[in-house]
Amino acid sequence: MSFITFEDIVREYRIGDSVIKAVDGVNFDILEGTFNVILGQSGAGKTTVLNLLGGMDTATSGKITVGGEEVSKMSERQLTTYRRNMIGFVFQFYNLVPNLTALENVQLAKEICRNPLDPKEMLERVGLGQRMHNFPAQMSGGEQQRVSIARALAKNPQIILCDEPTGALDSETGRIVLKLIKDIARDMNKTVIVVTHNAPVADMANCVISMKDGKVKKIKKNDVPKEVEEIVW
């Protein structure tokens, strides 16, 4: 029984007179509690898929269901509620609020959802127990990304969406961040979807969806995903 389904999803953007299909008839299923990677070059439409799934954008046509609910039919307000309770987001550029400390950034997420997890625990979990009261400007990129992961987790969402989470990090730090995401997700039984153009990352996923020109090229299931330590890029 799939947790997330995309059926014939199309997303068009109108720029002036021309219509660009960022996503053109995408179909896939994702099982609960799995680690998934959407792989593709820039412009392949992977971020659009992630935004549609995260309720930050609406499809032109097609049907998206998450946990039996039809996300593609939701109103803007319902989408916000859906984001609140279901989705945790990790961005390439972290997007922490510079004016809040690490702890406060995490608490910010906690403040708005139904069953939040303890922010301090989450920060300890990502290894930042000592740096809770630092502002983002006082932290390295990897640390900031870890705060952002803690923030996503603190909401206790069902799904964690990561848009190029390692894009702005060096490979060593990137690996640590990925491992963190994967381990925590497994421990807490979260469904994770990572968007990346970094092919080796795909080896650590249960399922890899490759995209090109707005279409799904290939869906590959890894019965035995590799550990992060085994991956080289």
Binding site: M56, T80, E104, Q107, I112, P136, A137
Partner: protein, 771 residues
Amino acid sequence: MVKGALFKKSIRDIKESLSQFISIFLMATIAISILVGLDSMGATMDTHSKEMYQSTHLSDIWVSIINPTEKDMWKLGSTRGIEKAEKRFTTNVLTNLQDKPTLKLYTTSEKSTLDIPYITQGTVAGIGGAVLDESFAKAHNLQIGDSISIEINDRWMDFEIDALALSSEHIFSIKDATTLQPNPEKYGFIIVNEEKIKEAYGGKKIYNQIAVKFTENVDEKQVMKKIDAALGKSLIGITTKKDSRSVGDVNGRIEQFKTLATVFPNMFFLVTALITLSTMSRLVEDQRNQIGTLKALGYSKRSIVWHYTSYGVYVGLLGALAGIVVGPNLIGKTLITQMQSLYVMHSYKIMLNMPRAIIGTLLIVACTAGVACYSCLKMQGEMPAVLLRNKQPKKGNHIFLERLPFIWNKMKFSHKLIARNTIRNKGRMLMSIFGVMGCTGLILGALTLDDTVRGIGKTMYGETYTYDHTAILDTKTTDKDIYNLHIKGVTQSMEETGMQVVAKNGERRMVRVTVLTKESPLVHLQDGEGRPVTVPDGGATITRKLAEVLGVSKGQTIQIKRIDESYEELEIKQIVHMVSGQGIYITKAFWESLGEVYQPTSLLIKWQSKDISLLDSDYIQTYVSVETQREGFEGNLSIIFIATIMLITFGGVLAFVVLYNLSILNFFERIRDLATLKVLGFYKQEIRALVFVENIVSATLGIFAGIPLGGAVANIIIKGFGENLDLVSKLTRNNILMAGGITFIFVIIVNVIVEQKIKTIDMLQALKSVE
């Protein structure tokens, strides 16, 4: 070529932040137009009144004395410091026109060279002709060649109107302190030949005034002392130019414009500088990379600094120029129509005070360009390589409030965020507080002013005086005669005379001295705090404004000049507050103890059963109802109305521009934060609240700060109303609520507009790019 490319960049940059640069431009325009507008009004009045004084040879003082002897004239003529002294006769006369309006009559002779009329039409022909007040003639539809009857010394005489004229003594033409505004239907002047007036006085020439012109640069007080000594007992008093209602009021108004032109624009200067600061800091920050690129390309530090400074120069200069055009044309023209109904002058051509306009322009350009230069200088220390690299996220800072855990820990996150943001953007916060403060202050000032002026009539003819009718008694009427009128109700008689008062410091005025009976049921005096007081025996009770003008206080003494007697030294026993009609009060008993005879001049009546016919008596010259008096007193207050509207408009623009800027800047600066919050699942209204709470906070602070400012604004304007009025502005709760409310409505309108703008922005886009 180099300059060309950068210039194009400036133009395009300005286009991109158009609304902010328009704001700077607007503020600069307003600042300069208020400065130049008000200043040009002052200059206009100053120039044209002086022209009139010069061309009509206005005297410096007028010495009141009954039929001065040749010896008196000789004495004055030979006093050092006096250039010229001429006799004339002046009195108020009734005319035969509808409602029997009063004319101030002056006599003249062929030899007269002082206080001559400014003839606008016709020429002075013969002895039987008259020169009539042009405004009065217009109001009564009189033409040259018409005749007019006036009553002099109980005798009606006809004069043919030879010429129409203006007079330096009637630029501001009001009869006495019972009116605030000139009304040419009721009052004017007429100038006739002294030979003709002889007829009314048994063939003898009559004089009661000596017009005196000083030589240049004399100590006027000293000369007046000499005149006093020379004339001795026969002197009644000396009226100075300042004393003269017309000159005094005109000078007061000129001063008022000067004060306003100095005080008001400052607020706008300040706000202009702050808006420029926030706009330019943001612009320079945004163009960090571009500055790096320019540096890398080899542009010198100087040309880059000039590039950014030039934004301020262009906008400030354009704003100032617009202000110089708009100020005199809009503010000046609006006010001048009002001024024309108050002041009668030969010309109303608007004069520009160029030096002040230039100084104002330099100041505003210094504000905008200086600030622009400062914002980009901060970035000049950095190496191009550093500038080209992406900037680290802005530093967060712990703030003071966090040290108070009992408050901080209870705050919501959004509120913590707001608190930190506010502290971080102190300049911007300050700008919006100043803006809102200015707005509330101007509106509150306007409302208070309106209230205060509208309250004068009620205070005078409702609290101070509680009669229904007042009558001017015939000379020689006694209290017994009044009793015999059998008026049913409360009556009170009093004596009012004009007397010279001299303070220890030499300051002198012709003032109204009122002699009150012991019981004063219809005249209620109040002290400065509004407590009712009675007039004590044994000294003078003096009104506060007069005390201020003379520079005396309670316990000190003043001298009053008794007619045909020498000066009498009186102790100031009490100071009272009188809205209008400053003067001195003494008791009947004290008056008589000085050796004077109490001779009532007016009668106040509060009817029990009204019977006006009783007032048509030989003992009574004229009578008037309190309603009529109140109407005439208040007249038409449109000038206050115009001032109110102008202040409120400026306040509104100020608030609008400032808040709009603040909101837009806040929004763009935090677009990433807000997008993050949106993705996290914050609802729209929660995000909106985040942006606007800051606005609301600064608006609230600004409103509170604006309350004292409102009082100050009202006081500054009220101060300029001249020596006759003693107004006390009071900030009422209603006005405070109203001003705060109006300001708040502006705040909300701005928020709605900004919200529309926010809707058009794609938040997702904001998340992708790096700041």
